[in-house]
Amino acid sequence: MTTSEMMTLKTEPFVLNFGPVHPSTHGVYRMRATLDGEVVIDLEPVVGYLHRGIEKLAEERTYGGFIPLTDRLDYISPMSNNLAYCLAVEKLTGIKIPERGEYLRVIMAELQRLANHCVAVGSFLNDAGAYFTPFMYTFREREKIVDLFDMVCGQRLTYNYMRIGGVSQDIPEEFLPALIKVIERLTIFIEEYETLLKENEILLARSKGVGILTREMAIDCGISGPVARASGVNRDLRKADSYSIYDRFEFDVPTCETGDCYDRYRVRIEEMRQSLRILSQAVKDIPGGPVKAEVPHLIRPPVGEAYGHLEAPKGELGFYVVSDNSIAPYRCHIRPTSLINLSALRDMVKGWKVADLIIIFGSIDITMGEVDR
């Protein structure tokens, strides 16, 4: 045994469960990490703790009756789930949506993106250890957005606001003035939030160059959303495959190059600014008129299949609906953005420390409702 062998301590890796109940697994999610000291050697995600079989339930619900269930998928941004399902069924049945309904859908989807990024950025800092302060600030601003949703559809979490053919109800008249105030307040808030954290040395030290996701790996794993755009994949469905009336608004798609945790944080902050731009344009030229097309309660789409997808705050959320001309969908598959974004976690984390594992996982921003369905 040479001296160098003697010198190296005989260490053997041990398996540590970042178990279903853990302060920063964002829901019931387990990671079996094999650690050598502090360094992560291997990581195996274990999912299924929140599996409710929504795809099986969809086969027993009418097309309209399934909408409340889509709220329970990604419960941080239910509006986008409703919208994705309605887009798929409208592509199947070919229903035209009135102008005002389209504008309301865009306003709600962008407000939901702001609310989701508030949660994502807040909890990312929380995993980095800033003891709940950024989390409290972002949740105070998210409260203002959720107040608007509450005014429009009566619930704070399960909105059930979109309907096939438009939106369930028109907005009350005090909605738009409040929305304009929220937009002003949020632009001020983002500037203030930036001074808190943009050049914070410790955050830079903890997240710059950590958990790098290369562009090829992102495309190969089918990653979408802010995580992919942080790695340089310039793919935003609002521009690439623009659905509803997104082609009328001009906004740009923020992307970064290195794809580390700091870039994902920056992309989300920039996306919040772009959403505010879209909202201010939508508020200016929202037309009058009906909000919902004439659609019977029980629709019977023609035999066939359709895949409707949109740029949800977490990535590309799609519904693949197969219909056999009965009142219930024959098969309804949901493209799980969070589950697919997790497939690259193992390669992003190998070689990093336990503290980085938590912050890399936090920067991907997943919700378990969408992973397990």
Binding site: A178, E199, H297
Partner: protein, 166 residues
Amino acid sequence: MKFERYGLGILKGMSVTIRHLFRHPTVTQYPEQWLNISRRSRGNELVWSREKCTGCCTCAKTCPQGAIEIITATNAEDNKYDVEKYCVDTGYCIQCGLCVEACPYDALFMGYSFERAQYRRNDLIQSDDALLESPERPASGYFHPDIAEKLPEQTLLIEKITEKRD
């Protein structure tokens, strides 16, 4: 990673937190101070009006959870249904409001109150007279614009000047 900016970033961040020390907290003391909830709030109970209800069971059909159970008897003279039993299992109900939306005779309302927790599971099953509108079970303005007018204005956090406009 260099320790660039020599700690100025940290000091700027600290200045933000200290400024918050002298601002109003955005907090309401719940049992003492009440917030007005949204006029279209979907409370956790249904409110049913016996006069308007014709027993057509549209609400029972559209309910995705099958929480509404209706038993009707045919009334030969003025060929109408008499609703003998109208029971809602609020344990199953997910407050989606599809029934209120589907009811053609506006006989169904969502509940407006939210402090209606029960201690025993079978208290969740409410039927007939327990469902009627009453002072502690007001009806919400969800899909009923006329009721929404009469309800108090919702307190919005954006209106409450909680922190100084900077």
